[in-house]
Amino acid sequence: MARSTINRSEPDEHGHWGEFGGRYVPETLVAPLEELTREFAHARDETDFWSELEQLRRDYCGRPTPLFHAQRLSAHAGGAQIFLKREDLAHTGSHKINNALGQVLLARRMGKRRIIAETGAGQHGVATATVCALFGLRCVVYMGAEDVRRQALNVFRMRSLGAEVMTVNSGTRTLKDAINEALRDWVTNVRDTYYLLGSALGPHPYPLMVREFQSVIGREAREQILAQNGKLPRALVACVGGGSNAIGLFHPFIGDEQVRCIGVEAGGRGEAAGEHAARFHSGLTSGGGRVGVLQGTKSYVLQDRHGQIANTHSISAGLDYAAVGPEHAYLRDAGRAEYICASDAEALEGFSLCTKLEGITPALESSHAILPALRLAKNLSSDDAIIMNLSGRGDKDVQLVADVDLTVEGDESHR
């Protein structure tokens, strides 16, 4: 694969970034996807649409979220200054609200009264249930049984918000299976239902649309870092499940070729197939992340030799998914973004470090980006800055972390 640095990243009219993306769906879904594409294109050109969204972002979500100079984490790394983009402070506690709010405005324009969504960690489900409460819409959220178990707090939150949470018992009982069920619901109730997909995944126009709604993260962060530090950061670091918080941060910086974009996938508990969700970590022994088609889009997919989708594992439900958003596949093959992974243990260590040193408890998803950010900072000068996307808060994970043996406990006593 030829490596050349690109400075823009726009799909063609059918949603292809190079060979990635597109629309791989049952025929029944083409009509609603075309309708959605048209509606989004219209809305995108209307100032009224954006001003309504802008107002809700400010008054309802509490945007802009701060860019916080994490001085103790920076000192711990002993190099560049680490800035945290505080998406944990957005309403409902993660970046997922940015997308949910944008899409619900589209659903209303389209006259759809029933909203369905999938969720892994429950953050997208909570965000969707929240905007449905705000606008008085019916809300059904599909969630894998395994995730219902490990993210019980969010299940309770969704139900309190009036959403119906459907437990999915098929397949691996995680995010992938929740998406399958949501797609089956949509195919069946296509005329009155809006599918509010939660990451930069799925068939066109979702990857593009979700990116557009999440790019508010990077636009704010770019302004904030210029104001606070007087220059662009050396690097951006974000965790990558489907890839929405990462692409939201990266996208406004794509033209700034000197800014490295680094995505962190879930390294799970081992190299073998089924033990991680590191799609770019290719090779058959590691589960075989290869170009394939899953749930409507062509991208890197963890799968076996025969094209059956592989099992995945991550301590964080939100990163526990076999495919990655198509734009990330494109950026990586074009050499514009880099992808690494962090293990369950490293995520737990990041979780604990950030909590103890900064008084900020990150979601386990976001926690994957912390140790990589520290390592990166260490090799840069103290005049430099890096931005880490703190995509969500960790309240939902406290119980889970408490149940795990925290091996890093002692390491921090010298500080």
Partner: protein
């Protein structure tokens, strides 16, 4: 003329409605699949759809999902399915359509698949999640090897898309009777008839109607306006129900004969 086209002209000459059963390859195991193919042909199948099991069958209801899971638990792969067809071909002339999700085919390789399909005697390929916009090189490859690319059309398909789909298809057009996943429904919607009429306006290809058909009455009502009825979940459910019965083949055969029980309509 392809074996599928020949079959449909034969049906037309005989003024007979066609019957297209679907089964998942490797459910409950590959040896039984071979026997089932023969039994279905004997019981009156005009074309058989053979499903390739996939881990994430988004277009399928629970019955076919479970069939896929059973086959995958047995480790059934696309190669196994092709071998199964190769073994059965000398004993059976009924056209076979491979019915699959895209990813297993993509991993096998477009060129490989088209060549192997022709070699083992597969007559058509239908890919549930491959729409014409993404299928150009794919259909070209299949044509090169004289395998019919079969496409689905749905009640939600616009007239503009319909024209585009039929221009890429050959063999027959598969009309989905209603928005939804596979699986039985008590009543057949009248969308199927309207859709069939829309297809007739832009294409001379035969039309098969499927999704949700499970009774003798429904089969007959499809024959009134379309060229063939596709029956999937109802047969797969029968296989599931009798999977540990030594006379499973007999039960499935009887179930099919009952579905096709002659009434005035099959000859109208």
């Amino acid at each position: 003329m392809s074996r599928i086209a020949e079959k449909f002209s034969e049906l037309k000459r005989a003024r007979r409605g066609g019957f297209i059963p679907f089964i998942t390859a490797g459910d409950p195991d590959l040896a039984t699949t071979e026997l089932l193919l023969v039994e279905l042909a004997r019981a009156g199948a005009d074309v058989i759809e053979l499903g390739v099991p996939f881990s994430d069958p988004v277009a399928d209801g629970e019955v076919i999902q479970r069939a896929s899971e059973r086959a995958l638990r047995n480790g059934v792969t696309l190669c196994d399915v092709l071998d199964c067809v190769a073994r059965i071909r000398p004993r059976m002339a009924t056209p076979i359509v491979l019915f699959s999700y895209f990813n297993p085919l993509l991993q096998f390789g477009e060129d490989n698949l088209a060549r192997e399909a022709q070699r083992v005697g597969i007559d058509g390929v239908l890919v549930t999640d491959l729409i014409p916009e993404e299928a150009e090189s794919w259909t070209k490859k299949l044509r090169e090897y004289d395998v019919d690319p079969i496409f689905l059309v749905a009640p939600t398909t616009s007239d503009a898309r319909l024209a585009r789909i039929v221009s890429q298809a050959s063999g027959f057009i598969y009309a989905i009777s209603r928005a939804g996943v596979t699986g039985p429904r008590a009543d057949l919607s009248n969308e199927a008839e309207a859709l069939t009429q829309r297809i007739r306006k832009v294409s001379a290809l035969p039309v098969a109607v499927g999704f949700g058909i499970s009774t003798n009455e429904q089969v007959k009502s499809v024959w009134r306006f379309a060229d063939a009825a596709v029956i999937g979940s109802a047969i797969v459910a029968e296989i599931e129900k009798n999977k540990s019965d030594p006379n499973m083949l007999g039960h499935v055969g009887n179930f099919v004969r009952d579905l096709l029980r002659p009434g005035e309509d099959r000859h109208s």
